[in-house]
């Protein structure tokens, strides 16, 4: 996507943000008969909450735009170092053929594919063996291990990898043929330790997967793009990330100490001083949970995993003078993962009380209108900058009031469980297939 096409949307977004501020001023100065101090103070707090939300969106869109502008003018790599593609698989029989075939179509001069079977109980291993061998310019190797989890499977792959760069992905992910080429260009800078790719939902067509498609674009990729401007992306997504092998060895590879091994590894690289950037053209599609219960299971694990990762790297969080970028990244991460969901859930409850119990309905309507407007603006910007489906903008109308509220309630409970150290197990979500390449 060219920068020029994003500029009008950016201008519209800025205009709408300004209008949102004006609207707030109107709310607070409107002559409402406040029944008591509680309602008035709550309304002021809600207005502050919304202002923070607007500022957050404005900053995200602005830095995302700067990052987008920077990437558009970044030249392709001058040299093509060998890349080892690592695919850890566990019971991926339904989709592994599509994954491997997409990998074999990579438009890259020098790469190998390592398929690591993590003790699958279905026909995955048999299917993998069919691909083992030397093809024109590609070598495919199969590594077999007893079930030890994704982190250990990836570590086995890293140790067997002969490439200078390592591309880690999931067994249910399909990557775009030019993904490796776009990612490699960032490693010309010796300070770059890893590059995050652009993950999209590949099994759309259902309410939950469509809402997640919007969330991946608006919630995850927009933030990652903005963080990329500071070279401080805080999570390299499991389905699409490229690493400098030396950097991985330096920080001690993946660890099974948390439920979000990708997050923990990214934070270790950041703490070590490596730059971590985002590449929007390195697109891959993955399977998102299609049932609410599976979605909650995934988010429960993510939230607790992020919390565990932050705790393990907490020393860097307060080392503001030594590394302000890393410290800021960790603080922002903690705010987004735990404080923000609590604020969002509480704010919604307060709005319901004010409107339902005290009958001040105007606040409810303005609240809804503001949140919806913000999400539609953000969705519009993301759809244009990523060339996404226009359908996602429609989901923006109930994305925050419905989807995000459900996810935030889950995050709040997960945070409480993590603080109380409630036991949990790492369990893979059942794959149903249905990932389509059309979304690449």
């Amino acid at each position: 996507m060219k920068v020029r096409s994003v500029v009008p949307i950016l201008l519209i977004a800025i205009a709408l943000f300004i209008s949102a501020f004006v609207l707030y001023a109107l709310i607070l100065t409107t002559e409402i008969n406040w029944p008591n101090t509680f309602v008035y103070v709550s309304s002021v707090i809600l207005a502050i909450f919304l202002i923070i939300l607007i500022l957050r969106y404005m900053l995200l869109i602005w830095f995302s735009y700067l990052s987008h502008h920077e990437k558009t003018h970044l030249p392709l790599a001058q040299r093509w170092p060998k890349v080892s593609v690592l695919v850890p698989v566990y019971n991926e029989g339904k989709i592994i053929d599509t994954t491997v075939r997409a990998l074999m179509r990579q438009d890259y001069p020098d790469y190998e594919i390592l398929l690591i079977n993590d003790g699958s109980q279905d026909d995955t291993f048999r299917k993998l063996l069919r691909y083992q061998g030397d093809y024109e310019g590609i070598t495919i190797k199969v590594i077999q291990q007893v079930n030890r989890g994704k982190a250990q499977a990836l570590n086995a792959g890293i140790q067997a990898a002969s490439g200078e760069l390592v591309f880690c992905m999931d067994g249910d992910t399909i990557i775009k043929p030019d993904a490796l080429r776009f990612m490699v260009r960032h490693f010309e800078d010796a300070r770059v330790g890893a590059v995050a790719g652009n993950v999209k939902v590949g099994n759309r067509g259902r309410l939950w997967t469509d809402l997640q498609a919007l969330e991946y674009v608006e919630g995850l990729n927009l933030a990652r793009q903005a963080q990329g401007f500071f070279a401080a992306v805080n999570i390299i997504p499991g389905p699409c990330g490229m690493f400098r092998k030396r950097a991985l060895e330096e920080v001690g590879l993946y660890e099974s100490t948390t439920f979000a091994e990708d997050c923990h590894l990214t934070l270790k690289l950041l703490v070590q001083g490596y730059r971590i950037v985002y590449e929007p053209e390195a697109i891959c599609v993955t399977e998102a949970p299609s049932k609410l219960i599976d979605l909650l299971k995934q988010r429960y694990r993510w939230t607790r995993g992020i919390m565990q990762s932050i705790r393990l790297n907490r020393r860097a969080m307060f080392a503001w003078r030594e590394s302000p970028t890393t410290s800021g990244t960790l603080l922002y991460m903690g705010f987004e993962a735990f404080i923000w969901p609590v604020m969002n859930v509480l704010a919604n409850i307060v709005v319901l009380v004010i409107a339902g119990y005290y009958g001040i309905t105007l606040i409810l309507i303005l609240w809804w209108a503001q949140l919806t407007m913000l999400d539609v603006i953000a969705a519009l910007y993301c759809v244009v900058s990523e060339g996404e489906s226009n359908r996602l903008i429609i989901y923006g109308t109930f994305y925050r009031m419905f989807f995000i509220l459900i996810i935030d309630v889950c995050k709040v409970f997960s945070t409480i469980d993590e603080l109380l150290k409630v036991s949990m197990t790492w369990e893979k979500i059942t794959r149903r297939g249905g990932v389509k390449e059309q979304w690449i």
Binding site: I293, L352, G356, T361, L364, M401, L405, I406, C410, M424
Partner: protein, 57 residues
């Protein structure tokens, strides 16, 4: 009829329902997790094997 009461009722009800759905589905998820059969520990704790104890002479 005025549009504001209708709109506010729709938003109020839908937000309430969403909150109830969110809390309900979370507890449904936790209930499902707790009902899952726990992994067998038979490999960790031997059933027939007994450690040999040398008899004192």
């Amino acid at each position: 009829m005025d549009i504001i009461p209708i709109l506010s009722t729709v938003i109020l009800v839908s937000t309430l329902v969403t909150l109830v759905l969110a809390v309900g589905s979370y507890f449904a998820y936790r209930l499902r997790e707790s009902r899952k059969p726990k992994e067998s520990t038979s490999l960790e704790k031997p059933v027939f094997f007994r450690k040999f104890q040398r008899k004192k002479v």
